[in-house]
């Protein structure tokens, strides 16, 4: 195998659909064995980029190498070392979970023995054993996604693309999915995932690439990005004005913001729950009566605000679907 320093290396990728320029010179370098998130709003070009990296689309300009193989000239070699989990759970509804996995194993050209062994391993690992012989159309959303991800892992590909792996999942299934993804990384797999949520990128990725309108606008660890966007803040509200005054004295920091009308204040918080507990204890000791408390985390919007001076473009559902259509052309 032609080894390169990076598992994934994309240089100056351009892609247009008709007059619509989706990617405008995107660069990406991903070290082997790391997990990287491509973070951006709808229409930023995330899906198009994943489709180029996974050989489904050809770039108009620029080059991509996956483990040293060119995605255009050597697509076949690339396909045998990648696993793709798209935005839709692409499982066959009229096949059972087990049959879906076995079909994928054979299509990855694994031997019959390896296919059977891997299918059973994955059913176990992804907690689908109990439903293994039910048609996939009877599965819940979370279960379908798990089966879908399991299917892309059957040939133990060293590189995995996850396009919005938790979109449309309920919070519990999302947490389960996150656990599964985190486990993959500990096994040495290189993962590129796309997401619209800073929280998800933060939770899963070692490195985050923020893209907007087809270009990389920032890159860094979650902490680096957040420090650009402003820290997490903690807010308190109090019973009386005198409580507020006392609290102001207790906190007295540079990042303190007071709202007299609401009888409340907020302060940046980079030490998590420990700091909140500390503050509450101090209030207690000084007999300051607290009526409410909340934490606010910086969001993709905040990062965008800082990076671009505008809000992350929230497109309505119509734009979203047309974006998907374009990505499929």
């Amino acid at each position: 195998m032609a080894k390169s320093k990076y598992a994934i290396q994309a240089t100056n990728i351009h892609k247009s659909f008709g007059k619509l320029e989706v990617l405008k010179g995107l660069d990406l370098k991903i070290h082997r064995g790391t997990i990287v998130a491509l973070l951006g709003p709808n229409g930023a070009g995330k899906t198009t980029m994943v489709r180029i990296l996974s050989t489904l689309l050809r770039p108009d300009k620029g080059a991509v190498s996956i483990e040293g193989y060119d995605v255009v000239k050597d697509a076949h070699s690339v396909r045998s070392i990648i696993g793709l989990t798209g935005q839709y759970a692409a499982v066959d509804e009229y096949l059972t979970g087990r049959e879906n996995l076995r079909m994928m194993g054979r299509l990855y050209h694994l031997s019959k023995e390896d296919t059977l062994r891997r299918s059973e391993e994955l059913l176990e690992q992804f907690d689908i054993v109990g439903a293994a012989d039910r048609y996939a159309k009877t599965y819940s959303g979370g279960m379908r996604r798990r089966l879908d991800l399991a299917a892309s892992l059957i040939a133990t590909p060293p590189i995995i693309f996850l396009d919005e792996p938790t979109t449309g999942l309920d919070p519990r299934s999302r947490l389960a999915m996150w656990d599964i993804i985190q486990n993959l990384v500990t096994q040495g797999t290189t993962i590129l995932l796309t997401t619209q949520h800073l929280e998800e990128a933060d939770r899963l990725a070692e490195y985050i690439v923020v893209i907007d309108e087809g270009k990389v606008i920032a890159g860094g660890t979650a902490d680096e990005l957040k420090s650009k966007a402003g820290r997490e803040r903690v807010q308190f509200t109090f019973e009386r004005d005198s409580d507020l005054k006392k609290a102001e004295k207790i906190i007295d920091g540079k990042t303190l913001e007071v709202d007299k009308k609401l009888k409340g204040l907020s302060v940046s918080n980079d030490k998590g729950v420990a700091r909140v507990r500390q503050l509450l204890e101090k209030f207690e000791n000084e007999k300051v009566r607290v009526t409410g408390m909340s934490l606010s985390k910086p969001t993709l919007d905040d990062v965008f605000m800082k990076l671009t001076g505008r809000k992350a473009t929230h497109k309505d559902s119509h734009d979203e679907s047309s974006d998907k259509k374009e990505a499929q052309l």
Partner: protein, 266 residues
Amino acid sequence: MKRVKPEPRSKIYWALSDFAVLTKRSMVYIVRNMDQALSTVFMPIMFLMLFRYVFGGAIETPGVSYVDFLFAGILVQTAAFGATYTAIGVTTDIRRGIVDRFKSLPMVSSAVLVGHTVTDLVRNTISAVIMVLVGLLVGFRPEANAFEWLLVLGILMVFTFAISWLSAIMGLLSKTVEGVQWMTFVFVFPVTFISSAFVPTASMPSALRAFAENQPVTHVIEAIRSLTVGTPMGSHGWLALAWSLAILIVSYLAAVYIFKRKTTAN
């Protein structure tokens, strides 16, 4: 994680394996997709009853009884409608992202088209047998010997396979499942009704008649009619085969080309 390696085999072995795996996948639909199974069988039976008992009495068919005349028409229409499941299957696979998934694998991804068309062929063979049995129940009295029955089956299979590949193209071009259902209906409805399937073409206005007498579906119907109830064969047999093979080859090449273009080239 320990890497699992692909099994080293020849390209041809894996291409055939891809065809087999995806044919097996589509084949389970015949049994598991009950909606599809029921509509494949009940629609043609209803048409058969409708023409046999409701309209049939008013239609003159010189030389043969109406039910004997009708049967070849119903058989071919069943095959033509049955061949459009490929279109629905292909569009559904594209919509669901299943085609994308196959494209990202080291396989012959156009095998997905083969899977659907071969499945249509099997499903249509089954429904043709059912139609013959139902036909016998309602008074169809064929005179064909075993060899002639084999010819009927052969002609019908080449024809239905050709229509399946044509409908694969429609499946690739269509954006939605509803859309493709319409597209195939708008295509199959006129070519099966403006033919000699249900009435002798002699009763049609001249322009329509010229089309009806020279289009491929009529040749297929007339060839099967001749083999089953002894109406004159003329050149229908050869023309039926020639048309079917031509449609098959052109549609196959076009479908594979469109599949490749649509899913990678741009």
